[in-house]
């Protein structure tokens, strides 16, 4: 709209503009626009303001008032590990005892899978039993898959493990598998026990819920640090960190699953005279079993994810291979190990999902002899015994013969090199475009915000959305971050998160809408998203670093890929669960497909889209911390540095800061989703 048009007084558009402006300036919009304008102005001129007033506190939190929580925590932990004594034994003894408790089964599994059982120490060690033959392990996996579902799954799982052997990843993969085999039962049993307690006691549930919230939002590196200090470098520390990481969802799922057992079923159990324990064992848990198995699947996938990350504190295995390959910039080796992780993740995921979906089947006829009742188990047992004993004399049975392994490292390396040589210009152009037009401006905006205003604006926005308690909480959390001297890094975190959430939504939501309306698209997109979600977060870094080198842009791509899934999934879900009558009503009213989408489907899917947004933000934040490995300068880097220095205080404070950002985002978006659901009259 130019000046001349205005002067000429072309009535209709003029009125439209006026209406638009008055719409902006009235009601709730004015609040948000005002807030943005003030923030933008302060962000742009904060530096000038500081110079003009010579008030350095505007851009930096005065160091005299910093909390200094780091030192306090660090000295507390060293007091714990060095000085605390309970009289008969010290705290150090407790941690040693715990270590031994976990180390013992871990050693057995490791011997079984890799080392074999031996008597004696070092040079004098005499082997009494070889490890399970690689053929035996594949046979066991195939049998389990066949039992859980069918021969197709058996072929897939067997193929995955055969891949690990043929492509020379066997030993590392078995180290990783040993950790998974120890961590999963502990995680499942612990989660089940805590979940049952939370189901039985409302007070316990109230106490444990904030702890679970925090555990799921504190970045993984942050609790690697205290564990490293208390338990030392090695597989035991890695296992403890893994269990802590993988257990919370099991607790939550157990509680929810038990709570959603229909009241009538519980009454039926009580009416036949079940005692408390019988009710739990015979009624509640079996009825909740399908949901509980979903929890087990989650524990397995999270365990694998964490076992890979925990290679930084000595878990070894495939994660360590990737890490060392990345450090050496060994492209081929990194991708090989990465693909092995992917293969293993897919096998474990499909197997545990098959158990979750498993249908009950009739018991075999008890009159048959046992080997005929369970023919597959019998054959498997025979293979296991035969191949493992053969391993005593023929080394080819013991370990996959090295001469027969296939190495793909050089192929991968030359492939990446080819891309880097031939497509460099195209990649670079995209990178430059995004950097100039998206990343840098957003970064400048967030980094310019003076901390004091940042605290206030977060409080105002959160308060507007979710009431004054939420506002105060959000402001207090932001103040904690500023007072810990982490303001600048937190702003970098927010900038990277918001850009990647924006991109993930931009790509994910349309994909989800498409999948929600088109069955065939749904099948393809669903399969891709499922696979993306099973991959341990670490894997995403590999191709990104190979193609884009280190820096914010690489981090961005990895985060977007990792956080894409919930945006797609919730958008599809939101579209698919709209009451079909409402869509028919729209059609009967004469909506074009486009109108149907914009005026009926999207408004109704809004709550679901917001939940997807929430999940996307959470995943983005958790991935962002891991991208510290590829050189971002955000809170994640702070945690990572703390890990390399084993500085507990620094690690925990920075970890808490990330958790606070996550909690604020989670509460605000949830409040938005809730109010939009209420507006639509949905429950």
């Amino acid at each position: 709209m130019s000046q001349q048009d205005h002067a000429a007084g072309t009535a209709p558009p003029d009125r439209a503009v006026q209406a638009w402006i008055s719409g902006l300036l009235s009601g709730p919009r004015l609040f948000w626009i005002g807030l943005f304008v003030v923030t933008w102005a302060l962000s742009t001129w904060s530096f000038a303001l500081y110079k003009a007033l010579d008030a350095r506190w505007i851009i930096r939190f005065p160091s005299a008032y910093e909390l200094g929580l780091e030192d306090w925590i660090s000295s507390f932990v060293s007091w714990l590990s060095d000085d605390l004594s309970f009289g008969l034994f010290t705290f150090r003894d407790v941690t040693r005892f715990l270590s031994a408790l976990i180390e013992w089964p871990y050693d057995i599994v490791r011997s079984l899978l890799i080392d074999g059982f031996a008597v004696g120490q070092g040079q004098q060690a005499v082997e009494i039993l070889p490890p399970l033959s690689w053929l035996a392990i594949i046979a066991i996996v195939v049998a389990i898959a066949r039992y859980a579902k069918d021969w197709t799954l058996a072929a897939l799982a067997g193929g995955c493990f055969a891949y690990l052997a043929i492509f020379g990843q066997w030993e590392s993969a078995m180290v990783t598998l040993a950790s998974v085999l120890i961590a999963v039962p502990i995680g499942v049993a612990g989660g089940l026990a805590l979940g049952i307690l939370a189901y039985r006691s409302a007070a316990f549930e109230g106490a444990i819920r904030p702890v679970l919230d925090l555990m799921q939002t504190v970045p993984v590196f942050a609790y690697l640090v205290p564990i490293l200090v208390l338990f030392g470098f090695g597989p035991v520390s890695a296992l403890i960190a893994t269990v802590i990481y993988a257990m919370p969802p099991m607790v939550r799922i157990t509680t929810v699953a038990l709570q959603s057992v229909p009241e009538e079923v519980i009454e039926a159990g009580r009416m036949v005279g079940c005692r408390r324990g019988q009710l739990m064992r015979k009624v509640l848990i079996p009825t909740a079993m399908p949901s509980l198995m979903v929890g087990v699947n989650q524990v397995i996938m999270l365990t694998l994810n964490m076992v890979i990350i925990a290679s930084m504190i000595g878990a070894g295995g495939l994660g360590f291979d990737v890490l060392s390959a990345l450090r050496r910039l060994d492209i081929g080796g990194g991708i090989e190990a990465g693909v092995a992780i992917v293969v293993m993740a897919i096998a474990l995921d499909r197997l545990s999902q098959a158990f979750a979906e498993q249908r009950l089947r009739p018991r075999p006829d008890p009159s048959l002899p046992i080997y005929r009742r369970y023919p597959i188990a019998t054959v498997t047992l025979a293979i296991v015994v035969a191949t493992t004993l053969a391993g005593l004399s023929v080394s080819g049975f013991r370990a996959y013969p090295a001469s027969m392994t296939i190495t793909t490292g050089t192929i991968w390396a030359s492939g990446i090199e080819w891309i880097n040589v031939n497509l460099f210009d195209a990649i670079d152009a995209v990178k430059t475009f995004l950097l100039t037009w998206l990343l840098l401006p957003v970064r400048q905006f967030f980094n310019g915000i003076p901390w004091a205003w940042g605290v206030i604006v977060t409080g105002l926005a959160a308060g507007r959305v979710g009431g004054w308690t939420l506002g105060l909480m959000a402001a207090a959390m932001m103040l904690f971050i500023a007072a810990s001297g982490l303001w600048a890094k937190a702003m970098t975190t927010i900038y990277l998160t918001s850009v990647s959430v924006f991109l993930a939504s931009l790509i994910g939501i349309p994909l989800g809408i498409w999948a929600g309306q088109n069955a065939r698209a749904n099948k393809v997109i669903g399969a891709i998203i499922d696979t993306l979600q099973t991959l341990p977060s670490f894997v995403y870094l590999i191709p990104v670093v190979m193609l884009f080198r280190v820096g914010d842009f690489s981090a961005l791509i990895a985060v977007v890929l990792y956080a894409l899934a919930p945006a797609v999934r919730y958008a599809a879900l939101g579209i698919r669960t709209i009451d079909p009558e409402l869509i028919e009503a729209g059609k009967v009213t004469g909506c074009t497909p486009r109108q149907l989408l914009w005026r009926v489907k999207l408004p109704l899917a809004a709550p679901s889209l917001l939940l997807g947004l929430n999940q996307t933000i959470m995943l983005a934040l958790s991935m962002l911390v891991i991208t510290a490995l590829v050189g971002t300068r955000d809170l994640g880097q702070e945690v990572y540095i703390a890990l390399t220095k084993a500085d507990v205080g620094q690690g925990i404070v920075a970890g808490l800061s990330v958790a606070f950002l996550a909690i604020i985002a989670d509460r605000v978006v949830n409040a938005l989703a809730r109010s939009s659901r209420e507006r639509l009259g949905l429950k």
Partner: protein, 341 residues
């Protein structure tokens, strides 16, 4: 009908809200509606008293929210009543310890649920055997007992199926088998047929009457369907807003409703489906020629075809065949067309 009383509940209250026990004490176990509202309490069951006789089919009828489900849960102590007393076979149910209660439920009570409440991981046979499994009965014995019940409810051949493989009516048959496997004295049925299609519902009602004619249980049957109530009940308690409006035989409800609410229910029910021959006969033994004998508990609707088609009146007899009076076509038709004779 002088049956011995098996379950005697009097002045039973179930009140929800902050500190219900203190609230009930304050009003001496008889708060009024205004007291409830003033203290923000919700009275799900308000001072209900019923006596259920041995071998009787006692129906508790009410619309949703009337408190009938809560009342039956108080009777089985699935819900702890706030006040009142419940006497079962001469002992106070509310004073029982958890252990005693478990024993009573294991041996003396059975319950059927609206949504079947079958355990999804057990087969038909295992579901039916479940109450015995809980008691620690060995597998062979309990499965043999359960098999008998499965046959009685007509599911022979399906004992290896899982609940999800059965239709609603079949699932409820499993629920019935499970509730009867311990041979309970007292049988609770909480809207057992409400989740079924109308046709299946009718079929299941017939099945229920057939079972009762074999087993002679004492039954507390909950329903929101007045037709179902008058079809099955020996006596009906009509509930509204947590109170029992009237307890009577179906016929008394029709002919002599205690409150306008009960009258509203009965108004649209054809009297012929409720009124029994015993009520419309001309009493006294006659020597006049009769077309035959009809039992006095038959409803007019059930007997009209015979009475109308016969040239002579029928003699009405009691359960033992003792003549009570006669009924003629005119009296029966008067009831059928709603003409006051």
């Amino acid at each position: 009908m002088a049956r011995p009383v098996l379950l005697d509940c009097s002045g039973v209250w179930k009140v929800y809200g902050p500190n219900p026990t203190a609230f009930m004490k304050k009003f001496n176990d008889t708060p009024g509606d205004a007291d409830l509202a003033e203290h923000g309490m919700i009275g799900a069951v308000r001072g209900a008293s019923v006596q259920i006789g041995q071998g009787e089919i006692f129906v508790i009828m009410g619309l949703s929210g009337s408190g009938k489900s809560t009342l039956v849960r108080c009777l089985s102590r699935l819900v702890e009543p706030t006040a009142g007393s419940i006497n079962f076979e001469g002992t106070d149910l509310l004073k029982m310890t958890d252990d005693e209660l478990i024993q009573v439920r294991r041996k003396k009570m059975g319950m059927v649920f609206q949504h079947f409440a079958l355990l999804p991981h057990l087969t038909v046979l295992q579901n039916a055997a479940f109450p015995l499994e809980v008691q620690g009965v060995d597998r062979a014995t309990r499965e043999a007992r359960a098999m008998e019940m499965v046959e009685i409810v007509g599911l022979k051949g399906r004992e290896g199926y899982y609940p999800r493989q059965l239709s609603g009516g079949q699932q409820q048959r499993v629920g019935i088998a499970r509730s009867l496997v311990t041979e309970p004295d007292l049988w609770f049925l909480d809207e057992p047929f409400s989740a079924l299609d109308p046709l299946i519902r009718r079929e299941m009602q017939d099945e229920f009457l057939r079972l009762q004619s074999m087993l002679h249980k004492t039954i507390v049957f909950i329903t929101h369907d007045f037709d179902e109530a008058i079809r099955l009940a020996d006596r009906i308690a009509v509930m509204k807003d947590g109170r029992i409006e009237q307890t009577a035989t179906p016929e008394e409800l029709m002919t002599n409703p205690a409150t306008p609410y009960v009258a509203e229910f009965t108004r649209h029910v054809p009297r012929s489906k409720v009124v029994r021959l015993r009520s419309i006969m001309s009493p006294g033994v006659t020597d006049a020629e009769v077309a035959g004998d009809l039992p006095g508990h038959l409803t007019v609707a059930d007997a009209i075809d015979q009475i109308d088609g016969a040239p002579y009146p029928f003699r009405v007899v009691d359960e033992n065949g003792v003549p009570l009076g006669t009924v003629d076509a005119e009296a029966a038709i008067n009831v059928m067309v709603g003409r006051s004779g």
